[in-house]
Symmetry: D3
Subunit: 133 residues, 6 copies
């Protein structure tokens, strides 16, 4: 249960550029899950109007994925993190590309959405490790 | 750890109005946590420019809390839920008011942010119960 | 008639979350009128590009209907109103659903837009009564 | 009286760039009324945090005034209107300036908000005349 | 090369409604160039999903063209400019219409995008003259 | 003259995520110039309301700087660019941080705005080189 999990969290994460200090890769992940579901629903439908609506919303949700990841990359991660995890730059660059025209924006392929989710999970793992230390 | 928790979740929740079916009270909670941190940081600062920036950002984050809660109320919850949980309407109305002018928008009071978080947690509990059934 | 309703209001208005005190159901109604016209225009056209544009704009206008109604529900209406008009919660919940995926967002049906307009008119009537008292 | 003006209109309104054909000066006027109320409320308050919030919201509402007026000027009014009403360009230019840095954005002066409202009313009169013909 | 040009510029221009004094017709032009490329790319593609994405993005970019032009018309140009260049009002009105439903929003015609670019260039010429004096 | 320069450009650059192929570091630079002017104007003013407006607008303009840079980093630059210019990741990360809380958002320091502009110019140089090849 997410709700119980959240209430157990000693510190929740951060994101606004005050900065408030509350960063959380879950924001990007929720949007990416949404993108995946959109692709799945389009695969199960043959209504062209539904496909159009799906395209409109997938564009927005993919953009939100990019935005949330960019915020983490710029606002949360600091030079020592990039030294400790030299793959971070490439990881973020690839993940945001995967939510763009060459990724989930460019089609309705569920496998692409899964690749995006996998990249976000790798980022989330590194994020979690940096929160511990 | 939120990141590990998320990867355990068989289905994460939903929110876009396709609808994709991915609703998650965590979205409102992350913004409300941010609002609380903003209030705490302002209490620790005597820089008037910082206070102005905090006011700007708190306004945005509180609005996001309202938006995410409105989406849950309209898009996720259905008539049978409102029958099963007759307190839901009032709960959402009070929670969104607590993120507005008479709540976290109207001041820098940490206690108000805590009240808002408590309301969101109640909503998240009901949400979790409806996901089980 | 919206126009006649509005002219009966002693003071029109209100909406920002200062709050400025200027709430007005006309904001939601104007957007819903737009949604209805979009559906009518699509019915009279067989240009697929026009239909795509209509889908894009109908999505935005429907979202604005939802937003303006949510603002009224949370920011204008107070506990005594909900006691005096126990149907208000359901009315707002149904109206916002009618502007969502199961309503005007989900198709180009003029009848659905009319249902939405009728709900908004009921809300506007109650709104007008509360302004008088 | 805005309300009386609106009630004279045989059909209300229109605004989206499909175009749906639903234009309505009431949209700009509601925002301008809000701006005026904000100025009045600030005059009655000596809370600096309230003044900051008022500045944030007045900025947004003034921008909305500008936007709604620009939409009318570009999307509703056509060359024959500009021939029939040669003052229209200046009227819109002055009105949008009055909602900008040299107008309501630049201060909390109620008289400036009244000037803005008067300009909008002049536009609304011309608008109403063009709808009749 | 634009980049080298920019570094040569003694003062770049301005646009925010503080006002900061940095206005620049390049903002509208970049968006209009984008609109033109979108039309060209659609002409070279027979993928209906690509056409839908192109419609979504063309709608946004055309709106940005309108916005950047409106800002110049209201915020940069002053009464003496309108006296010196009496064609300015019509030029801006036609340019913003060319980015709307009767222009680039309404279709994928490259020639329409070229007309829009030509209007923006005329505005940019007048703008450049007013900066010199 | 920027306007004359632009009309000489055979192809202007690109930015939307169709992608249209029109990227241009000028977008980030115009916003950063605006941020610098805002800081300068605040230094010359002792009006607290002006300072509040400046804070609001500086927050938005700095966010636009970040956004335009992120778009370049993700959408324009490709793996071969990152191999040829290994400093690019750090350059973008530092530039976007300079437009954030630890940079231009966090204060009214003109020197910080100059540092940001210098970073953008370095990015623009590399961008120009990649366009040539």
């Amino acid at each position: 249960m997410l709700s119980s999990t959240i209430s157990e969290l000693p510190t929740v994460h951060a994101h606004c550029d005050l900065p408030c200090g509350v960063y959380d890769p879950a924001q990007a992940r929720i949007e990416a899950e949404s993108v995946k579901k959109i692709c799945e629903k389009v695969a199960d439908s043959d209504d062209p109007d539904f496909r159009t609506r799906a395209a409109i919303i997938k564009e927005q949700r993919s953009e939100l994925v990019k935005h949330h990841l960019w915020v983490l990359w710029t606002d949360y991660f600091k030079p020592p993190h990039f030294e400790a995890y030299p793959e971070l730059h490439t990881l973020f660059n690839e993940a945001t590309k995967l939510a763009g025209a060459s990724g989930t924006k460019g089609g309705f392929d569920v496998a692409t959405a899964d690749e995006l989710l996998a990249k976000i999970d790798k980022i989330a793992e590194i994020f979690a490790e940096t929160k511990k230390s």
